[in-house]
Symmetry: C2
Subunit: 139 residues, 2 copies
Amino acid sequence: MPDITEIARRSGLPASTIRFYEEKGLVASIGRRGLRRLFDPGVLERLALIALGRAAGFSLDEIALMFAANGRPRINRRMLAAKADELDRTIRELTAMRDSLRHAAACPAQNHMECPKFRRLLRAAASGAISVRKKKTAI
Amino acid sequence: MPDITEIARRSGLPASTIRFYEEKGLVASIGRRGLRRLFDPGVLERLALIALGRAAGFSLDEIALMFAANGRPRINRRMLAAKADELDRTIRELTAMRDSLRHAAACPAQNHMECPKFRRLLRAAASGAISVRKKKTAI
DNA sequence: GTGCAACTTCAAGTTCACTTGAGGTCAAGG
DNA sequence: CCTTGACCTCAAGTGAACTTGAAGTTGCAC
């Protein structure tokens, strides 16, 4: 029976995160030896699913909803498709932004304010046509 | 001389945000009428630049660095190119994720765990090959 | 001149996903 | 048996970007 340290080692997550996930109901320990949690090795697959969900942009609460009462992941295909569509929109925005950044970086105009492309970009940002992604962090 | 309400209306930002930006040194009011702030209309361009920077993934602190002491935006071309590269990496990851999500949504396997593509995706997420974007919010 | 809506300040609260710290317990090695 | 280090709990802290609330002030219409 792996303990939390073993699960931490094998999943690459800090033990504190695993305890946090347990508190949130995202994973469960299978028992205790004294105070210490013992885990079923299957928790590793669960942690991988959580990492996957996070990478796809789901919040921990959304991920919790996917783990049905029975414990088996109940992944809603409609939810996946919706998230894919959302990613698609994000990708399009980011692509436009990346192109504009590259242009601005290479633009010969003395001042970015004099560059028509930059000003168009500025208007798009000001109008809220582009959404903000929060800073990404490593898993 | 527009007051904060006028700037809020024209920028689409809540007044509290504009005060917050002022506190952060991102924008400046040009004076007061009594207690009330008065703004140069040019602050609208400044706010648009801030929105643009946020949309490109810069933090408010990074954006503050771009506004040089002289007040004119001093946009570092190297910084822009670096951010474009970062966006490029993000776009690649998101694209892979989107494709996998679409596959999972359409996958005929009874259980996602039995789908080789899904399991490959799972391994990628578990290995940390995919990074987490924090939830995006509207500007 | 007076009422009051709208501004002001400052501190504290919010969200998310964790991390950190203090103080406590205990399994295992010597 | 006793030490010790790794685990435990619970509360509080972190960071980013704001928002909200309480309490105070005031420009302006009437």
